[in-house]
Symmetry: C2
Subunit: 327 residues, 2 copies
């Protein structure tokens, strides 16, 4: 009997139906419950004939970006970009010297800026993200990312991505999943680089947006970016955006903050096998440690929901052998 | 020399690098300029090493739906659906007997209904498409399509699709294209059936929409459809929707009315090889003949733009051997 099994293995191996060696698809994930839960879910939904089998077209996984795929401390990357844009555009806007929130930015007065709350930040984003064509804006983002560096690590922001999550994205795609970003960040701020960095093409990026307007400039059609909010992709709006863009309910969702709670609820409540995971930032040495009391990436209700529903929680300090690529 | 070529052909054929016989991928298209233009474009963008080669991820083709993929006469299918919904919902709405546009619908008074213009029709759509969850609405659409029949042909509406366009969709996909619908029709009205009928999955359907709201019903999260317009995917808004959903400019666009003009302009103006095609309804016997003077699917500016820019125009009567499947 054993001999037959060995023979079968050889046949499978040499006909290419089985890998010659079992390569660990998630080498940066430490052995333990978290990694096991991921592998068990993927195995379940890809096992043909199994009770949990999910056909490939329905294997859709959604990922938050800030704090889930790349670092969001000490400040959202897109906010750093907006501040830099204020400085770059200031010569064309002499009035900003006396006008909030621009005055605060130009004077480096973060306290006053943040005191203005979400409204001030939204104004800042409008003023700095609008007024160009869609094509021009994509180039501005690319140019900025090429030179901007993280204040703590000195790395390009596109290297402040989590190595274990890169492996997870690749592992899911190797198993027939379509991977999507569903982020509160700007859709046009992400699309210029997500394909190169995460392997996620523009059409699989969902995010917040400002309105755009089609216009003919002579014989050239352009899309002009307007200083008007179109969609804020956070909290309750994440399931709305998922439905609008994807049109079917994903079977796996990955987030790190209370802003992702409704997305995880929406995904977890579907029929058949479901996977919901929170990245919990617990590593103050290699990254940052924050949850309930953080203004960026607050995670309070989410931890309660995870405990109540048996969702998977990544303890970054314990579960991740490596945080960023090549370090 | 000739002998070498023959030998080469045999080698290619038997190693599977060449089809054993040249199967016509577009059998319902008559031989002529239109079919040649399509095949030439597809050959150009898929020929590796050629000057017009386009990598597969950028091979995106967008299709209007009403009048391009399925028939829109004598009335948009979705409008028929809305009228039927008014009748089905009337018992719950006794006030509709005295309230326009519902009164007109219940009395079969199309003249009064259409006299109310776009505003009346939009009100009708809101009232009949909202108030359910997203999941319930998908089921209502499926149930309706299962029994509704076209008033002229007696066919299910999903068999009022154009056979040559089905072949075109399949031909493009066989050549690495991602095919999208970009329609003025309701996104949630199309998604329940486009995968089965066109091979276009929900995430590749773009359309008009009403707002939806995330809500917890007990422990069950639902998306509730609201009687409020979210996005009207027509004319200027089609390139906006393409950018919002797809995030890169398609290389091929297919439409049939002036509502598709900006989409064709947007697609045609990109770099590299481009393909823009108008379906011109010229066959009053097998389908309908209409263009400049039709209130449904008016095609006037589009014909001028096609002539001025050298876009391809399908003459349905001449170019299509077959209109609908199996007839």
């Amino acid at each position: 009997m054993k001999k037959n099994l060995i023979t079968l293995c050889f046949v499978l191996i040499f006909t290419g139906c089985m890998p010659r060696e079992a390569v660990d698809p998630l080498p940066s994930w430490g052995e333990g419950q978290t990694k096991e839960a991921i592998i068990q879910f993927v195995t379940e939904v890809t096992t043909e004939g199994g009770t949990g089998f999910v056909p490939a077209p329905e294997r859709i996984a959604v990922f938050d970006n800030d704090g889930t795929l790349w670092a969001e401390q000490p400040m959202y990357v897109q906010l750093v970009f907006a501040l830099d844009r204020v400085k770059a555009l200031a010569p064309e806007h002499p009035e900003w010297k006396d006008e909030q929130p621009f005055k605060a930015v130009l004077e480096g007065d973060m306290e006053t800026l943040l005191a203005g709350g979400e409204h001030a930040l939204l104004n800042l984003v409008m003023a700095t993200h609008a007024g160009t064509t869609q094509k021009e804006f994509a180039q501005i983002v690319k140019d900025w990312l090429a030179t901007a560096r993280h204040p703590k690590t000195g790395r390009p922001y596109t290297e402040m991505v989590y190595q274990p999550m890169l492996e997870l994205l690749a592992y899911l795609r190797a198993n027939g999943f379509k991977t999507y970003i569903v982020s509160g960040g700007g859709i046009e701020f992400m699309r210029p680089w997500t394909e190169a960095v995460y392997g996620i093409p523009p059409e699989q990026v969902v995010g917040s947006s400002i309105k755009t307007k089609f216009e003919m400039r002579g014989s050239e059609p352009v899309l002009v970016r307007l200083p008007e909010l179109n969609f804020l992709d956070d909290k309750d709006e994440k399931p709305v955006a998922i439905n609008q863009h994807i049109g079917r309910r994903p079977i796996a969702a990955f987030g790190n903050s209370d802003g992702d709670l409704q997305m995880l609820q929406w995904v977890a409540a579907g029929d058949g096998p479901r996977f919901a995971l929170y990245v919990h930032h617990t590593d103050g040495n290699r990254e940052w440690a924050y949850d309930r009391d953080s203004s960026i990436g607050r995670l309070a209700k989410g931890l309660e929901a995870a405990a109540a529903n048996g969702w998977t929680v990544v303890d970054m300090k314990e579960d991740w052998r490596v945080i960023f690529p090549d370090n």
